[in-house]
Amino acid sequence: MMKKYLEITKSYKEEFTTKEILSAIYGAFIFTLLIALPALAAIGQIISVYLYYLTFWVVLLIIVMILLNMLFHHFLKKALVLKKSEIKTDLNTLFLIDQIIIDIIFVIIGLLFIFVFIPILMV
């Protein structure tokens, strides 16, 4: 699995220049941010009003972060496809593995909040 991932990454770097990758990441980030900012602000305000369901909201927040991560990778793929119509690299597999790694980090941060930070902060 790891070997396959490294091979796809190598192909990805060969097919796209650093400038093209950075430009695509920048575009995907800005577009994701446009959706994430009001979504996260709204969730923050829902949490402030219904604080007694805090654990539930943290779980929901983890799910929203996973969805935003999916959205970011969707925009990233779209930007790269728009730059080059014929792409040989298996972007789907590459981005799926990237997403899983990032999602695991989100889940770990969320669980840390539920079991460590919230009990410390809510005094």
């Binding site: 430009s23 709204a42 305000q45 402030s48 007694y52 930007a79 005094v123």
Partner: protein
């Protein structure tokens, strides 16, 4: 970036107005307040006393907090309407005059002085059976309120100590209750304060032409002199403000000082400010606190009670809240007038109700 912008530009054009409207709804504050249920906090997690460290406390004593949003955004206000547990109303009184930051400062000043009152009362009560315990206090007059018309409004902060004022014929007024007596001849007088950094400063305050007042509210507090107090206690920083945890703080500190465990395995919570004479004062947000206690399944919930004929008496409000939400108050909702009442209940719950008259 450019490719994405070109591809999504038709959608961006259509969505820009709804987007800006949503942003307005999310960030524009309105002149209301919104009270919602919060949670309970074990007093032990905030205050600890270096005494009876080996004592096994089988139950818990917790103060109750609610979430009070002053000037919520449109969005918060709207989503707040989806639950019958929440209460929204127009902002009035001092809350309306102060900014959110000032309200937070007042709330934390209230909390800090409430903890001092709780320590004083708990130590004095425990001292009756154990002379080893000692408490020393000192008086401090602090800025508690500011009217909009007060001179140098931004220079004088909530919680700053009032030292003295120069009155008529240069009389030094160090008793704040005599300020109006000795400031009759002129419109402006010099007041001396000390800020939280320990720096002394003075400002010349001018009376408002209409009210003939300086617009400054001062309040006398008794604070603990930690150097001459035994045993030592420490207090952790807390995100929760306000004085309504006073009674439960007093109970928890008292339990840390005495030999017996007054919790007897019970999950004790409640609300009510504590006064230096041991009386319990009224609080706000009763309905939300009752719901919070119910959600958290507490065994005992103390609530201030003084007058059954007074509509806003906290116990009467609590009974109405229980009826409204279909909660049975029997056995856990306990009205108290004083700190001594709460101790009496914990010592003999059945006996307490026998002597209770509504």
């Amino acid at each position: 970036m450019n490719e994405l912008t070109k591809a999504y530009w038709p959608y961006v054009k259509v969505l820009i107005l709804p987007y800006l409207f949503f942003a307005f709804v999310l960030f524009y504050p309105i002149g209301y307040y919104l009270d919602t249920p919060g949670g309970i906090t074990e007093v032990e997690s905030i205050i600890s006393v270096d005494y009876n460290q080996d004592k096994d406390i089988s139950g818990t004593i917790s103060s109750t907090y609610i979430v009070s949003i002053i000037r919520p955004t449109f969005f918060q206000f709207m989503i707040g309407q989806f639950s019958v547990y929440n209460n929204a109303n127009i902002l009035t009184g001092s809350y309306a005059n102060y900014t959110n930051e000032e309200n937070a400062q007042i709330s934390f000043l209230d909390k800090e002085t409430s903890v001092n009152a709780a320590v004083i009362l708990a130590y004095q009560e425990a001292q009756k059976d154990n002379p080893e315990i000692s408490i020393d206090t000192f008086e401090k007059v602090m800025v508690f309120g500011k009217a909009n018309y007060m001179s140098f409004y931004d220079d004088i902060a909530f919680g700053d100590e009032f030292l003295y004022a120069m009155g008529d014929q240069d009389v030094i007024i160090d008793d704040f209750t005599l300020i109006s007596t000795y400031t009759t001849e002129k419109d402006s007088y010099e007041f001396f304060f000390k800020n939280d950094k320990g720096e002394e400063y003075s400002r010349i305050l001018t009376k408002d032409p209409e009210t003939k007042k300086f617009g400054l509210t001062l309040k006398l507090y008794y604070l603990v002199n930690k150097e001459n107090t035994y045993p030592n206690y420490s207090e952790r920083n807390s995100n929760i403000g306000g004085p309504s945890g006073g009674l439960l703080q007093t109970l928890a500190i008292y339990n840390m000082l005495v030999e017996e465990d007054i919790t007897a395995g019970r999950k004790i919570a409640g609300t009510g400010t504590i006064n230096y004479d041991g009386s319990v004062g009224y609080i706000g947000g009763t309905e939300q606190k009752i719901i919070t206690a119910y959600i958290n399944k507490v065994d005992v919930f103390f609530i201030p009670y003084h007058d059954s004929n007074y509509y806003y008496d906290n116990y009467m409000e609590a009974l109405r809240a229980c009826e409204k939400h279909g909660i049975d108050p029997t056995g856990w909702l306990v009205p108290v007038r004083t700190f001594a009442d709460s101790l009496s209940y914990l010592a003999d719950p059945e006996g307490y109700w026998e002597g209770f008259v509504l």
